[in-house]
Symmetry: C2
Subunit: 188 residues, 2 copies
């Protein structure tokens, strides 16, 4: 990941970053992933290729930066008063986000660009799930391990989005919460 130490809101650096990110999202959404090169991104963003090379280094680092930014803070952690309610609303929202073809295209391109790509798409989801589970514990309730919740909630949801032709509807995604909360198998 590239540390973004130069950004201040409204500064030139922030404007460059915003146009480069937008150029990546547009190119990734436009069918063929093969065309995503640094010169193509730079041309579309209206900046010099050297600027992009200097700041991001490679297509895979650039995609990881765009994905981390796109998949952070876009889904709100709900507070419905119960663990089941929080998880159901959150899973419905994540599934709705994943139903957007542009989101899927960015996710696929990021995965394809290198070994770290997948994690860049989900690091914030893990943190959000951790926050939901922590809040239930703070309420005095029992809650599954975060990793168990990742396995049984995000596992099936992202699998359908990437590997399966079955739709990952938000209703179906909310239903996964019942399996997690009924889960009596030993923690692994």
């Amino acid at each position: 990941m590239v540390e973004d130490v130069h950004v201040r809101p409204g500064g030139r650096s922030a404007r460059v970053r915003a146009s480069v990110h937008r150029a990546v999202e547009e190119l990734v959404g436009a069918e063929s992933a093969d065309t995503l090169t640094i010169p193509a991104v730079a041309a579309r963003a209206g900046v010099h290729p050297t600027t992009v090379y200097r700041r991001w280094g490679s297509v895979s680092q650039l995609l990881a930066d765009v994905a981390t930014s796109r998949f952070s803070g876009d889904v709100v952690v709900p507070d419905t008063g119960s663990l089941a309610g929080d998880l159901e609303r959150w899973m419905g929202d994540v599934a709705t986000d994943l139903a957007d073809p542009d989101v899927l295209a960015l996710m696929r391109a990021t995965i394809g660009s290198g070994p770290e790509g997948g994690c860049a798409c989900t690091v914030d989801r893990h943190e959000q799930l951790g926050a939901i589970i922590e809040r239930e514990r703070a309420r005095g309730g029992a809650a599954p391990d975060v990793e168990r919740a990742v396995d049984l909630l995000l596992g099936p949801l992202y699998y359908r989005a990437v590997f399966s032709s079955r739709p990952a509807s938000s209703q179906w995604a909310r239903g996964l919460v019942a399996s997690l909360l009924a889960d009596r198998a030993p923690s692994l």
Copy 2:
């Protein structure tokens, strides 16, 4: 998917296909996915680029063909006499396959190449899981829906392999079978 109507074992067409597939696997394994272009594959396979364009059309169709071939028949459907035994052995074998960095690199590149890439990696896994479940029914046993099994077995396993930094050990993968077989949530 490109229909492969010209292949006969030992024929020129089969030899071309084998060298092109090998070239793709080697290039995909060699770090940077950006270098996977049809001219690069053709050069490495020692064939004319036109041959590759004519037969596969695009990098994404070529990758889907290589992935379908690589992920078919490589894992054997076991027959241990029980559903739990069959599923545990099979999940352990699939997890072992996914622990190979070359397998992961091919899977990531195939996903990154287009919307159909993910399915090309898992279509045979769905058929194998269906066969295991069918056999249990033929024995007179009760078995979960195939789609439920896909969600709760392949979901967590492929999620860890692609999206998470947690290891997807074969022991952990075998443990997922307990969650599936203990699952009492309503089918979705």
